[in-house]
Amino acid sequence: MSERTNRHLESGAGLPIKLIDVTKTYPGMTVNAVDEISMEIEAGEIVVLVGPSGCGKTTTMRMINRLIEPTSGQIFIGDDDVMGLNEVELRRRIGYVIQQIGLFPHLTIAANIALVPRMLKWERKRIAERVDELLALVGLEPGDFRDRYPRQLSGGQQQRIGVARALAADPPLMLMDEPFGAVDPITRERLQNEFLGLQEQLKKTIVFVTHDFDEAIKMGDRIAVLRAGSHIAQLASPEEILRSPADDFVAGFVGEAATLKSLALHRLAKDDLAPPVEERAGLPEVPLGASLRDAVDAMLESGHDVVRVMENGQSCGSVRMSDLLARGSKAAANGAAARAGSAETGDPSS
């Protein structure tokens, strides 16, 4: 059993996670902190648990690596029941990133990253190579950083090391608890983008906890909006949640300006661009791959109703405000229809 387990968990690509009626009751409490949550997370996807503080999202996440023992229910990683595994060995194979980062101040950056590989008894040479590889992966020059101590790094650099350390033994899944919550907004944005870039190569299965809905939209392949007791109010893609929130609680969490937020989800691709327009003074430009929100922002700022989309210094298309408005009215019609439909069926949970 454990032989098979190890082989499974060591493979770097993601493994699915399945929660079945997982419950956590703290002694002396009448209400369950986490109440019978069931959820399936596919291999290689980022599922964001989002909800107000105290809703049990962190508790739910921490039960997956058994930092908190479930009171009842089952958790499977791949085919393995988590409760049947040695908890220490289980955790060595799950990346763990937290808001406080928790780098060990008495160890060098290299030693911090090497911690799990060392516990797994990797060879010295392999560890040293892995450390340099990971430093390069998170955009920090190995020669510059490996011998430094954490306090010699900025907050953003420290959190990069936190991510590198979690990736050290190439775990199939990662648990991330508000990983970018402690850095300034600009650094946060950059770290989020970098991490999404990394994830495209790595394809880890990631459970990501945040209370920031905008971050959830940005990071999640799917979002689980949780209410008290870790009850799932809605589990769906960001687009779906923005378009048709399941109930008032979710709508409240999505907040105002859902349409504006959904613009951030839409990346500019060649297929849906209008034909290029000629260069004119003051005409705004955005790179291919930027979001529609960036495009609208550029238009609003410059006062033009069209923005040139650039690729390698050349315009490959444009986005027109009039097209967006036309699309908006269509989407609004769809959304109204969808809402009318759900009202007819009558959702019992709301």
Binding site: H106, E129, D132, G143
Partner: protein
């Protein structure tokens, strides 16, 4: 594909880079660290000069030979180190236990507080009555007396460690003993060591009362001086005890710095 064994990437980026980092590292010792030993040496030198040149009574001269003072000093150091060693051996494991089993804390602190609250001379007398006189009974009595600072500092030193660090350690799959020995204790070294130095100074300064139960050390010279109103002898012994406390505390500071991991120095 390039064979990685021919050009290890770790070497290519190295030259010059590491040198840029090293100036940020503070130097371990500066001239300020040697002020105390110099002052102590000057005080001892002056006193020795005085004893050699002053017009001392025959009895004092006979009592305060170089050999006798050296023997007393060595005894004093042995007592102090024995007390401190015993204190560390008791207080650190106890402090660790207390931070793991929280209900132990009031019990342990009560015992340690009592040990310090009871007059030390009373402790020495009680242990002598119950057990024996001599070196070890005094060591045991003074250990009870000096255990509190190390116990308290061990608890504080372990408690003050950032929760995120402990959470990360556990979450990465360190065993409980791994978290203790590789994360918590190294990070608590400065605080525990400060407590150990306090215990050491307490021991050095309190050992003279062991004179009453035949412990040896500089207490013999000091108490004789007091009892027989030999002021020169009393002053010399008191000065040597004080200098010994200062110099042992300084040495403790050196050890503390050597034990403190470089990253948190």
């Amino acid at each position: 594909m390039v064979d990685p064994s021919i050009t290890p990437p770790t070497e290519t980026t190295r030259p010059g880079r590491t040198a840029a980092v090293s100036p940020e590292r503070p130097r371990l010792f500066t001239w300020r660290d040697f002020v105390i030993p110099l002052v102590v040496a000057a005080a001892v030198g002056a006193e020795v000069y005085y004893l050699n040149t002053a017009d001392l009574s025959k009895i004092v001269e006979a009592q305060m030979t170089f050999d006798r003072i050296m023997d007393s000093t060595v005894e004093h150091i042995q007592l102090a180190l024995a007390v401190t060693g015993l204190v560390l051996a008791i207080a650190i494991p106890l402090g660790v236990a207390v931070t793991r089993v929280r209900w132990l804390e009031p019990v342990a602190l009560l015992v340690a507080n009592t040990g310090q609250a009871v007059p030390s001379i009373g402790l020495v007398a009680i242990v002598a009555l119950l057990w024996d006189i001599g070196f070890w009974p005094v060591v045991v009595a003074l250990t009870l007396f000096a255990v509190l600072p190390v116990l308290r500092n061990t608890i504080v030193g372990l408690d003050q460690i950032d929760l995120g660090i402990k959470d990360a350690a556990r979450g990465m799959g360190m065993s409980p003993s791994g978290v203790l020995f590789r994360v918590e204790l190294p990070l608590a070294v400065p605080v525990i060591a400060a407590g150990a130095r306090t215990a050491l100074v307490l021991a050095v300064a309190t050992i003279p009362i062991g004179y009453f139960v035949g412990a040896g050390g500089l207490g013999d010279q000091l108490m004789q001086g007091i009892k027989l109103s030999r002021n020169q002898q009393m002053f010399a012994a008191a000065l040597f005890v004080a200098c010994l406390a200062l110099i042992l505390d300084w040495l403790g500071g050196v050890v503390e710095r050597l034990l403190t991991p470089a990253g948190i120095r």
